[in-house]
Amino acid sequence: MELGSQPDYMKILKLDEDEVKRRLAFFELTDEDFRRLTELKSFADRCTQDITEGLYELIMAYPESRAFFPDQATLARVKRLQNAYFLHLFSGTYDLNYVRERLRVGAAHERIGMPPKLYLGAYRRYLALIHERLLDHFKGNDAEASTALATIRKIIFFDMALAFDTYIAAYLETMTRHQAAIRELSTPVIKVYDRVLLLPIVGTVDTQRANQIMETVLVQVVEQQAKVIIIDIAGVPVVDTKVADHILQTTAAVQLLGARTVLTGISASVARTVIQLGVELTRVDTRAKLSEGIEVALSIVGKKIASKKPKKESEDEE
């Protein structure tokens, strides 16, 4: 069992019995192949050590691949695992458990950061070594050796597909986490005062982002029980009808909740564009500067910014 936060690749890749059946079919693995593989078990038992040695000869010959096996202990362990892997190819049962095992192997390689090129190169060598041994095993009977190799190739390619999948699944996981982080960073809703929120929008706003913004705004307004949210668009480079519409949709939704919006950062050109395009922004408080917007927002919650009383002369002497 894997410890810690190993992603569940079976789940991520949606590998269920049906999917496994579909794959076995596409790789043309039939009952005959399964039978042949079990028959080759004794061959596998005899050759596994040699094949593993041959594989690691290649791996240790190149610095890039060698780097993954820095010491004897690691190398010895990995060779043992490789033997087990090879023998498992001839197990005869290719079900969810088999797939789960193979995914673990792929995941292990992905985890240590072995690039696909090395992984595939190693598989190629593996097949070549198996071919050699098969020719040997079937002494002269090339046809039988060929058939056996064809079957083994099918199952090895099946395994390689699973290894590929773990790499892809791992990248997907990383991307998902990054996307989530980017989403959070791009819609920073700040509490500037009790029940007063501020959202500075920076960068282009496309439909997807606009939807994201609206959803975040609404969730925050309810969570914080905000009476007013200031949305500053000074950082939005282009404000056309589409963007204006999206902003309006958000203000309409905020209003539906029972809160108000103050729109700030309206530059001269944006003001011109919006009116020329005939966009209605009348039900929303708007200001050119964020500071003015903050004052409006505070007044909505019954507060105002006032100057501090000037200090008396006697206090200055302390």
Partner: protein
């Protein structure tokens, strides 16, 4: 004839909490109950709490608007409270802005708003 939407009296305000899926008979009973209560208690305010509703379709939106109109005819102001973020988003995406209906974030705020309104009315 009590329906399945409970109506409580909180001072001069009536509070109705919707927690079930609405359909014709429930809506009819509810509107009937509300108006009878307004008549009986002389409440000046009605608060409808929809915080339990995860989705509101046009039927429900219409029902809420109509209930508010009915109450208004009897001199009672309605405030809808507790709308969930996803409900607000869905309504505007559909094109329903429910203009003309007052909303507030919470029951407390609704009560405060109605108290303010009564003060204003009293001073006129």
């Amino acid at each position: 004839m009590a329906g399945s939407i409970p109506i409580l009296k909180i001072g001069p305000t009536l509070l109705a909490t919707i927690q079930i899926d609405l359909h014709d008979t429930v809506v009819d009973a509810f509107q009937n109950d509300v108006l009878l209560e307004i008549e009986k208690s002389g409440s000046s305010g009605l608060i409808i709490d929809i915080s339990a509703l995860e989705s509101v379709d046009s039927y429900v939106a219409r029902m809420l608007a109509n209930t508010a109109k009915m109450a208004k005819l009897m001199g009672t102001e309605t405030i809808i409270v507790g709308m969930q973020p996803a409900v607000a988003a869905t309504l505007v995406r559909m094109g329903y802005f429910m203009s003309g209906i007052r909303t507030a974030l919470s029951l407390q705020e609704g009560l405060e708003l109605q108290a303010e309104r009564r003060k204003t009315l009293d001073s006129e």
